[in-house]
Amino acid sequence: DAGITQSPRHKVTETGTPVTLRCHQTENHRYMYWYRQDPGHGLRLIHYSYGVKDTDKGEVSDGYSVSRSKTEDFLLTLESATSSQTSVYFCAISGGTGGNQPQHFGDGTRLSIL
């Protein structure tokens, strides 16, 4: 199994509070991704990173920011959480240079915003 650790695994918080989710990898892969999974939508890409300090937006990036200061860590931040951001969040990694390698997923973080 790919060495991907997401933390926390579960979190409950209130509307308006900041939330940061962490993805840590031990594979030294260049690409890291954050997805959210909601019923009826499959997985949707929020942001991705193609190297340290190199990030770009995905399909549903509004309300989220990311940072990658080290190869192994990719952080997802909700500056002011809203109930619509209640979801299961998955981190993924992939190797290679062009993003055309298989993505491997962490076990997810279940986030509830009340």
Partner: protein, 109 residues
């Protein structure tokens, strides 16, 4: 980004039966994967298959890139095959991996 359609949305099988799941893409893809999401929510890689045919035990997959579809075959299904199967692809002009809505498979003993 590309659109991904999976069929059927739901499938109920008796243990031992065979099945075929389909994934259609709105445009050509250069990265295509099949995943199984188990009842605990984990996403398990099944195949990385932008083209051609691959087999892994009772599972096999075929992608016909020129016709923009991929098929996942499950033979002699077992109750542990239950869960949701997703396909995902990335178009040549995008960096997004787009997922289908999934096929929910239930295998009954």
């Amino acid at each position: 980004g590309i659109q991904v359609e999976q069929s059927p949305p739901d499938l109920i099988l008796q243990e031992g039966a065979n099945s075929t799941l389909r994934c259609n893409f709105s445009d050509s893809v250069n990265n295509l994967q099949w995943f199984h999401q188990n009842p605990w929510g984990q996403l398990i890689n099944l195949f990385y298959i932008p083209s051609g045919t691959k087999q892994n035990g009772r599972l096999s997959a075929t992608t016909v890139a020129t016709e923009r579809y991929s098929l996942l075959y499950i033979s002699s299904s077992q109750t542990t095959d239950s869960g949701v199967y997703f396909c995902a692809g990335r178009g040549y002009n995008n960096n997004d991996m787009r997922f289908g809505a999934g096929t929910r498979l239930t295998v009954k003993p």
